[in-house]
Amino acid sequence: MNAVLLPLLGGVLIGLSAALLLLFNGRIAGISGITGGLLSAAPADLGWRASFLGGLAVGGVLLATFRPESLGPPVLTSVGATLIAGLLVGFGTQLGGGCTSGHGVCGLARGSKRSLVATLTFMATGAIAVFISRHVLGGVS
């Protein structure tokens, strides 16, 4: 498996997962929406969300067991930078109505202009953040 086939296969699995959730549950596989919904959804709407997130966690344990190299170490190590990044991801995905999966996969597959704008925006600011932290500040950890 090389640098093209394995990522492609991973992508196909993600696409299959999103298709499964649409076919059976009639839901969109946007991780930030599924997670954020846990915080404010009606009780009847909590089960499938918790179950999906539980599946993610089980997947994490399986990966750690059978393919530990796929779970790379964090690039951030300081508590402050980690907290700021987490807050930005949490708040930003809710304000923007989606993340890499909801906008970047499901929205784009639907041909949504909103999702195209969102995806281009977070890719651009992500690249800018990496540029500044790596090449201007010389590495933020």
Partner: protein, 139 residues
């Protein structure tokens, strides 16, 4: 019960896809976003694979009258581009670029990722909660 089972299975499949694709390796994600440095384009193939697969299957699935275990398919969400969409996506991108984690990979790494991932996911949930508290929108 069945709906929880299929959702759990979808979550598991999603996690394996992220892991095999390389999305759960923050250094790889940062390398993908590092267009001015040693750019690592491999994650573009994850996106291409996911997009292609879902775009194709979605068309077939939506020929059905309704989902297998639910009453209806989701209504098409709003179509307009507004400031919140751009501002939110911009903030998310900064956090993503700094940490190499978007929500899915962070949650996959949570059970095995140690203190940093725990702090990151905790802060992410607080950020989500702050927004939901401010806007008080359901769902």
């Amino acid at each position: 019960m069945k709906a929880a089972l299929t959702a759990g299975l979808a979550g598991l499949l999603f996690a394996l896809g992220l892991g095999l694709g390389g999305m759960t390796d923050p250094a790889k994600v940062v390398g993908f976003l590092d267009v001015a440095g040693s750019w690592n384009p491999s994650l573009a193939f994850v996106m291409a694979g996911a997009l292609g697969t879902y775009a194709l299957l979605r068309r077939l699935i939506l020929r059905r009258a309704r989902p297998v275990l639910a009453d209806r398919f989701p209504a098409p969400p709003r179509a307009d581009v507004d400031g919140r969409l751009v501002a939110g996506s911009a903030l998310f991108g900064i956090g993503w670029g700094l940490s190499g984690y978007c929500p899915g990979p962070a949650l996959v790494s949570l059970p095995v990722g140690g203190t940093t991932v725990l702090l990151f996911v905790g802060a992410m949930l607080v950020g989500m909660g702050v927004f939901r508290g401010m806007s008080r929108q359901p769902g």
